[in-house]
């Protein structure tokens, strides 16, 4: 079985800081991988490296066996890797359906087909009633859902979720968890970066925990939660907070 995503010894430095330090892991097709870590662990940087926002300082990233190290974000999108933004980045002057259509164009080049795909995606995510509303009028919860809709309308092989639960009400978290949990069955592999742990612990098939730019634990959610290194990393954070 070949990995869908292979991250091999990837590092990223900002000046003297090593935000991501020699990280390696692989994601198999159909997995729902949770990527967690305390604040400042390097989650976002790792996420941005995989999404092509910036090139790694060292190491290799491969999608489906193809070396994609240093590819730009639009190249990654075309290679089948979709992403969401932690702080939603809607096209404010466009309507909800138009927002999703722009993503749908990646696979459906005609207006009509793109609109159909966008409509389908909107009803999947329960956004159909907001179809013709300007994106600038949506609440944070709906904007997060729009982020997910845009990513899914790209018909990706792999989707990267960046804290899609942050700022949601408990009801919204429940609805979103349901949406995410359905994806592997539809042939979409998921890497999910999250700070709200209880949702991800319940849904992920496997977890990767990073701290100070390094992988400190990897495995089933239940195992990882008991891992002393993980407990220490999170406890350490809490003690700093106190």
């Amino acid at each position: 079985m070949s990995a869908l995503l292979q991250v091999q010894g990837v590092s990223r430095t900002f000046g003297p800081t090593r935000a991501v330090d020699n990280v390696s892991f692989a994601v198999q097709p159909g997995e729902l991988l949770g990527l967690i870590g305390p604040n400042g662990a390097g989650k976002s940087t790792l996420f941005n490296l995989i999404a092509g926002v910036m090139p790694p300082s060292g190491g290799k990233i491969a999608v489906d066996g193809t070396d994609v190290t240093g590819w730009k974000s639009y190249d990654m999108a075309r290679a089948g890797v979709a992403r969401t933004f932690q702080i939603p980045k809607p096209y404010r002057q466009l309507s909800v359906i138009e927002n999703v259509m722009i993503s749908a164009f990646l696979r459906e080049r005609s207006m009509g087909r793109a609109r159909e795909l966008a409509d389908l995606t909107l009803s999947d995510l329960g956004l159909a009633s907001y179809r013709d509303r300007p994106a600038s009028e949506l609440t944070v919860g709906l904007l997060k859902r729009l982020e997910v809709a845009r990513a899914l309308a790209m018909r990706p092989k792999l989707v990267l979720f960046d804290e899609i639960m942050a700022g949601l009400t408990p009801t919204e978290v429940g609805a979103m968890t349901e949406i995410v949990a359905r994806l592997p069955a539809r042939g979409i592999t998921v890497i999910w970066v999250e700070h709200v742990l209880y949702a991800i612990m319940k849904t992920a098939t496997r977890m990767v925990v990073i701290n100070r730019g390094c992988v400190i634990a990897e495995g089933a959610p239940a195992t990882v939660a008991r891992d002393p290194a993980v407990v220490k990393a999170y406890l350490g954070e809490e003690m700093q907070l106190a």
Binding site: Y74, L94, M101, S103
Partner: protein
């Protein structure tokens, strides 16, 4: 909970955007009115103003493709205008190429210049892009001024006023009205096509959010330079028409910052990013500025500019989304129960 849908739909109706790609009756009447006006030759005394209004409406639509649709606010479009005008005129005078062909060469030259500008300024956004576009046009103007062997320098170039359809020197002002109206309609149709096409959606995407567009598989640099090239090409066509109408060109007017500002102003007054806005802007501002200049230009030098600017400030303050936006709001308010 049951009251929510009605409430949101009213909210949507007040703040709603014009349905993209939908052509309103107002637009149809406006454009048909232009055709009728030219066909029946109303107000022969105003033909100069009509030609200029049509020409500047086309130019405003051209600017709007970059500035309104793609968010590339440029204060350097006079450079493309000048490149189009000079290319066709030089080709005609030195190589005897008819401007009917020269207009396409001029458009291509302007398109290349537009693409080069956006590639150079790839990383610049907002005010930084505006300033570099302004500087770009100044560079083009200074080159034109200091290259007399090709451009005639400050003395400019004249086209012999011998009416000849083959050389795009037309015998009557009505013929120029037809020519500039065709230009306006061409620019209008291109804008309408953009609103209903994938490429047009890509322009809106990079205007509203670059990062999101890139994450959706769009190469922002490619889209940006294509938009600029299209806008510049259409502006270049306008430059050739201008040269063929006035039969005289000099860098001080044709590549002036004032002209660049004018291109940006008309769509801003009429309504940015819409197809009808730039036309309305030109139909309002072009006659107004001509009127003020001819009536006040001699009596009190510069007074027409003061009145003109005061009018613009009022428009910007009270109609920030332009005339098209104000009309849309008026329509929605009337429809509201």
């Amino acid at each position: 909970m049951t009251a929510t849908p009605a409430k949101t739909s009213r909210l949507w109706r007040i703040s709603g955007m014009p349905r993209r790609g939908q052509i309103s009756w107002f637009e149809v009447i406006l454009l048909a009115g232009c055709i009728v006006w030219v066909a029946f030759n109303f107000a022969p005394a105003l033909q100069d103003v009509v030609v200029l209004s049509f020409l500047f409406a086309g130019l405003a639509l051209a600017w709007n493709i970059a500035g309104g649709c793609a968010g590339l606010i440029s204060f350097g479009h006079a450079a493309f205008f000048g490149i189009g005008a000079y290319t066709s005129t030089i080709l005609f005078q030195s190589y005897n190429v008819t401007p009917w062909l020269g207009v396409f060469v001029g458009a291509a030259a302007a398109a290349i210049a537009g693409a080069v500008l956006s590639l150079i300024c790839a990383r610049l956004k907002g005010p930084f892009f505006i300033l570099s576009s302004l500087a770009f046009a100044e560079v083009v103007r200074i080159i034109a001024l200091n290259w007399p062997s090709v451009t005639g320098g400050a003395e400019g170039l004249s086209i012999p006023p011998v009416p000849d359809l083959a050389n795009m020197v037309l015998g009557s002002k009505t013929a120029y009205e037809v020519l500039t109206l065709v230009y306006l309609l061409l620019a209008y149709m291109i804008t309408r096509w953009l609103e209903a096409s994938r490429f047009g959606f890509y322009l809106f995407a990079i205007r509203d959010n670059d990062d999101a567009a890139a994450a959706a598989g769009i190469n922002p640099l490619m889209v940006r330079s294509s938009a600029m090239a299209l806008s510049a090409a259409l502006t270049g066509v306008g430059g050739t028409l201008f040269a063929q109408y006035f039969l005289y060109l000099d860098p001080t007017y044709v590549i002036s910052p004032e002209l660049s500002f004018q291109f940006a102003l008309l769509p801003a007054v009429g309504g940015l990013g819409t197809a009808v806005g730039p036309i309305l802007g030109s139909f309002l501002i072009t006659p107004l500025s001509e009127l003020l200049r001819t009536n006040l230009g001699n009596a009190a030098a510069g007074l027409h500019l003061v009145i003109y600017s005061a009018g613009l400030i009022v428009v910007m303050l009270y109609f920030p989304s332009g005339i098209a936006g104000a009309l849309e709001k008026l329509k929605l308010r009337r429809r509201r129960p």
